[in-house]
Symmetry: C2
DNA sequence: GTCTATATACGGATAGAC
DNA sequence: GTCTATCCGTATATAGAC
């Protein structure tokens, strides 16, 4: 899998997922027509990410948002009850979206090494696809409602567990060396996190997300002591890397 | 070197460094007695970090700061011209402090491997010693004045150069394997950065900064192919991946 | 040097016309 | 559904007494 393939897979279900995840926010929205909601809410989200990622959510005024979206102050409030709602809706959308994609991409049973590579790439490609959301989410997590904060913590814990169980399986199979599971998982996440936190830096260095994915995988695998000579050849396990 | 030793080394020159770095902010401070400045400015900095790291600098009101420091609203403004000054002073202090310590700790000529370990530890121990400053600096960098923003970028570039030259020397000496210098430096920084961004997580897992330093060093060294405990990476194999 | 009281502006949110 | 006009709380910053 590379990013182009991933992007195409995701793009087809994007709109429909947006609609599904809307259900939760639906009660706080005064607008009737779904089509109008989708159109304007997407405008609002996009503008919020743009402004907030430049100067912070707290520093973004509703007047800023009105100007950027072209929707008047009064009309904006038909799409949420208060400013913080936007933040929580964005986070809720992001988590549901990520969870859904993750379930799709890593559902198939695979061998640990393949699985590790798939999860690293999925995580990385998701953060590329939704970079402004990931960046925003990281920077503004302080101000989430208790509900969304808890949900974020849970999602984070789930991701940890996915990584841990893969590493564990690999250790059992003898594919991976001995290592500290907590620190290793945290390191993988730190490397992936850097992609969306420092994206403009990578872009200016002309490093693509595919290159970065390969780098992270190689970096992590040398820590795990994966024997490259053996892992690459049998069973075509290495397909994901060689393309 | 471990963290306890580092901490003792740094602590002795801390106060005097604070005084030195004060010179720059001096003109915007209306107070005469240096002793008073030091006492109250440290109180102000401490309180700012405490409040801002909880809810963000923008969300911290001057009334919050007044309450936390025990200094009245009016008196606070004798120590800076406006709220943003606090942010810029904090950042200026941090950069000057870090630069000074770095110069002291890595001055001595060493061999690349030793040097790499020293720089990783120094960077990590500094971020432990000044964790609230590092966290604050990362989170609030958006709102720095152009001057402090530029200074931050320069300091970052200097750090990159230090790492790059060490890796380069190691490559020339044949101590390190072939690797992508830009990505490798970025990876080291990402791992170190995670320490101050997720510090409470590490603390709750009872991971000490010394343990983390050893982990990062070992992680990076296995990427560079210097870990004697593992099989050497065959020539050429990883080229397809790292480029 | 530090305090209280206050000027002034700006931000979130709503009312009510269209 | 969307707009303009406006309310009102809160924020930064200052004035001026002590």
């Amino acid at each position: 899998m590379n990013y182009d393939i991933f992007k195409k897979n995701v793009a087809v279900s994007e709109k429909e997922m947006f609609l599904e995840t809307l259900a939760e926010s639906r009660e706080s929205i005064r607008i009737k027509k779904e089509k109008t909601i989708v159109k304007n809410l997407q405008k609002i989200f996009k503008a919020t990410l743009k402004i907030s990622n430049k100067k912070g959510f707290k520093a973004m005024s509703m007047r800023d948002l009105s100007r950027e979206t072209g929707i008047s102050l009064g009309a904006l409030y038909a799409y949420f009850e208060n400013k913080d709602d936007i933040l929580n809706m964005l986070q809720s959308q992001r988590i549901l979206f990520v969870t859904r994609i993750f379930e799709n991409e890593i559902a198939r049973a695979q061998r640990p090494l393949e699985k590790l590579r798939t999860v690293i790439k999925t995580h990385l490609f998701l953060s590329e696809f939704m970079q402004p959301w990931f960046y925003f989410s990281f920077m503004e997590s302080k101000n989430l409602s208790p509900k969304e904060k808890q949900r974020t913590i849970n999602a984070e814990r789930d991701l940890d567990k996915i990584f841990e169980s893969i590493l564990d399986d690999g250790k059992m199979d003898g594919v991976f060396n001995d290592f500290d599971p907590v620190l290793t998982v945290e390191a993988i996440k730190a490397l992936n996190q850097d992609w969306y936190l420092k994206r403009s830096k990578f872009r200016s260095q002309k490093i693509s997300v595919d290159q970065y994915a390969d780098f992270v995988i190689q970096f992590v695998e040398s820590h795990l002591g994966v024997d490259k000579g053996r892992a690459a050849i049998p069973f075509g396990v290495d397909k994901t890397i060689s393309q």
